[in-house]
């Protein structure tokens, strides 16, 4: 029983990280029809930049903001100067792949090949004891943080006028242009927001996963599976998919460590067999 509860909680804390990546990935896809291969790189670079800022300043909040904003600028730059010039999908996707390789190598060049890590903020260290169950406070904090982000995204998407423009752009790009929505601006901001969230995830995950070159391509398929399972362009899908994939991955690691990555195959296969567009996919 303790095993079940602890594993479920750590699965959900992983899901919290995945959601930060997948929500951005899914929304970027919804708005621009781009699959951003460099999204895992944003996560990894965010972690590295966060660690560097933390070492310099000792501030967790500054690490998150600094990493998030600098990666957001990188993302917007990519979108404005290169991706936007193409209307077909493939050149865009391929270009993000080129960036993913460049980012990996830059990370190796700047931060070296050894895994880095930094401690959770002092007030979030330690564990909660409830009977037999022992669970790190920091992981609970991550779950709360990601939930807050999810609620924030939902409010932003459903209740603000920018959210309305965003939804209009997702539904029908041309009509959105026609009614006077500044689609290029919406696209750029979405790309920036997605990049911010991925970097945010990278910093938040660093205290328990560490940061290393290779994290980019290790997390990217997981985020993809979330989007495949949840459905493209759907925030709800990203949330449900994250929880599903987080749990499967975590129980896989705990029960069959040898085949852990392989267990991901299962939810993906099942969903693709039943509903090829994902649980909440529209297209």
């Amino acid at each position: 029983m303790e095993f079940l509860i602890v594993q479920t909680l750590s699965g959900i804390s992983f899901a919290a990280i995945l959601f930060l990546l997948a929500s951005g990935l899914s929304l970027i896809f919804g708005v621009m029809n781009i699959v951003n291969i460099a999204h895992g790189s944003y996560y990894m670079l965010g972690g590295y930049i966060g660690i560097s800022i933390f070492w310099k300043t000792g501030s967790f909040v500054l690490a998150i903001l600094g990493a998030g904003l600098s990666i957001a600028i990188v993302g917007i730059g990519m979108q404005r100067f290169l991706l936007r010039r193409y209307f077909e999908h493939y050149p865009q996707v391929l270009m993000t792949m080129g960036f993913a390789l460049i980012f990996r190598d830059l990370a190796l060049l700047i931060w070296g090949g050894d895994p880095l890590s930094f401690p959770a903020p002092a007030f979030l260290q330690g564990s909660i004891h409830m009977g037999e169950i022992v669970f790190p406070v920091y992981r609970l904090f991550v779950i709360a943080l990601s939930t807050a982000v999810a609620i924030g995204l939902w409010v932003f998407n459903e209740k603000t006028s920018f959210g309305a423009s965003l939804r209009a752009t997702v539904d029908d790009n041309e009509m959105a242009r026609g009614v006077g929505i500044n689609v290029p601006l919406v696209s750029a901001l979405m790309f920036g927001l997605g990049a911010f969230l991925a970097a945010f995830g990278g910093v938040v995950a660093a205290p328990f996963f560490g940061v290393y070159a290779g994290a980019d391509f290790e997390i990217l398929p997981l985020a993809f599976v979330v989007v495949i399972v949840g459905g493209m362009g759907s925030l709800k899908g990203a949330a449900v998919g994250s929880i599903l994939v987080g749990l499967v991955d975590n129980f896989g690691k705990a029960l069959v460590p040898d085949l852990s990555y392989f267990t991901l195959f299962l939810p993906m296969a099942i969903v693709l067999a039943i509903k090829p567009t994902g649980l909440f996919g529209r297209k």
Binding site: F29, N33, I34, V35, I37, L82, H89, Y90, P91, V93, L94, M95, M97, G98, F99, A100, L101, I102, F103, R104, D105, L106, L108, L109, F217, L220, P221, F224, V225, V227, I228, M232, P257, D258, L259, S260, Y261, F262, L264, F265, M268, A269, L272, A273, P276
Partner: protein, 316 residues
């Protein structure tokens, strides 16, 4: 049209003659590079079936390469299985994985296809990396012996191994050429152009795409077998995303849908990789830049670029 075809054919024949007569005169360093070029050429051509002819670019093609390479490595080092058993198992396993994966990807198109193949490809990497008792994890498996064919010629000799690879390459090129120009291959191209039209014409497009995917996976498996024997060592790097990206670039660089173009692209990439590695470790940085530059300036591949230059380099 006829003349362009003739130019191509004579180019191929000239290249083939060079590949046959030149190697004995080459230093062993160039011989190994040439062998690598041919092995990855096979892999790039197999991906071209998907990308160029079926219009389904895949980001997980290294999976099949990895599966057969690992099968050879595990069987020959741990279970001392003979040559035929290794090759048959490696090939069948890669084909079986392709047949399984095909069930999940055959319905998909566009970016969806990319995402699913990427995730499925990384599942194989995950097995190679985490299933330590079987695959040796991050350390990989070393010491794969060159096969004993039961004939007096030893494959340990680089030049002999080169010629074996060359023969396999030519056979694969021939088979894929036949495949693509068969009615089946033509209908794959039909699907690339307009799937709905093909469906209306009565083609079972799902089955066509499925079989096309399995064929591509099976041929990629052949290159994995050659690689395991050539390199004597396999590691998760062989099935990682960067490996899938590299073969993808080979096809893009050479020109999708030209079959021989991707083999040429493989040659260029293998050459650059070896050449650049001699001077710097920044291979990923350079290959990433090549990617972006290719898409900016040669979206149709070097073959098309060459034709454009020959026509006076005018931009349309």
């Amino acid at each position: 049209m006829i003349t362009e075809f003739r130019v191509k054919i004579s180019g191929i024949i000239a290249a083939f003659i060079l590949l046959v007569i030149l190697p004995p005169t080459l230093p062993s360093y160039w011989l190994t590079i040439l062998t690598q070029m041919l092995i990855f050429g096979i892999m790039a051509m197999s991906l071209d079936v998907l990308m160029g002819y079926m219009g389904r670019p895949s980001f997980g093609h290294a999976a099949f390469f990895g599966v057969s390479a690992y099968a050879i490595a595990i069987l020959s080092t741990r279970y001392q299985v003979g040559f035929l058993g290794c090759v048959a198992t490696g090939f069948l396993l890669a084909t079986a994985i392709a047949a399984l994966y095909g069930l999940l990807v055959a319905h998909a198109a566009g970016v969806y296809f990319l995402m699913i193949t990427l995730a499925l490809g990384m599942v194989i990497w995950g097995l190679a990396f985490r299933w330590v008792t079987m695959t040796g994890g991050d350390n990989g498996i070393a010491g794969i012996p060159r096969p004993d064919l039961g004939i007096p010629i030893s494959l340990d000799d680089p030049i002999v191994f080169y010629y074996v690879v060359l023969i396999v390459f030519v056979i694969v090129l021939f088979l894929l050429f036949i495949f693509i120009h068969s009615p089946f291959g033509q209908s794959l191209m039909g699907i690339r152009e307009s799937e709905s039209r093909m469906r209306i014409l009565g083609y079972n497009t799902w089955l066509h795409k499925y079989l096309g995917y399995v064929v591509a996976g099976a041929f990629s498996g052949i290159s994995g077998i050659l690689w395991a024997y050539y390199n004597g060592f396999v590691s998760p790097m062989d099935a990682e995303l960067t490996a899938s990206f590299e073969v993808f670039l080979m096809v893009i660089l050479g020109g999708p849908g030209t079959l021989i173009g991707p083999a040429l692209g493989a040659g260029i990439i293998v050459f650059l990789k070896n050449f650049i590695s001699a001077y710097t470790h920044r291979w990923l940085l350079i290959i990433g830049a090549i990617y972006i530059l290719t898409i900016l300036y040669a979206p149709g591949g070097v073959m098309e670029l060459g034709i454009r230059f020959a026509k006076g380099g005018d931009k349309e």
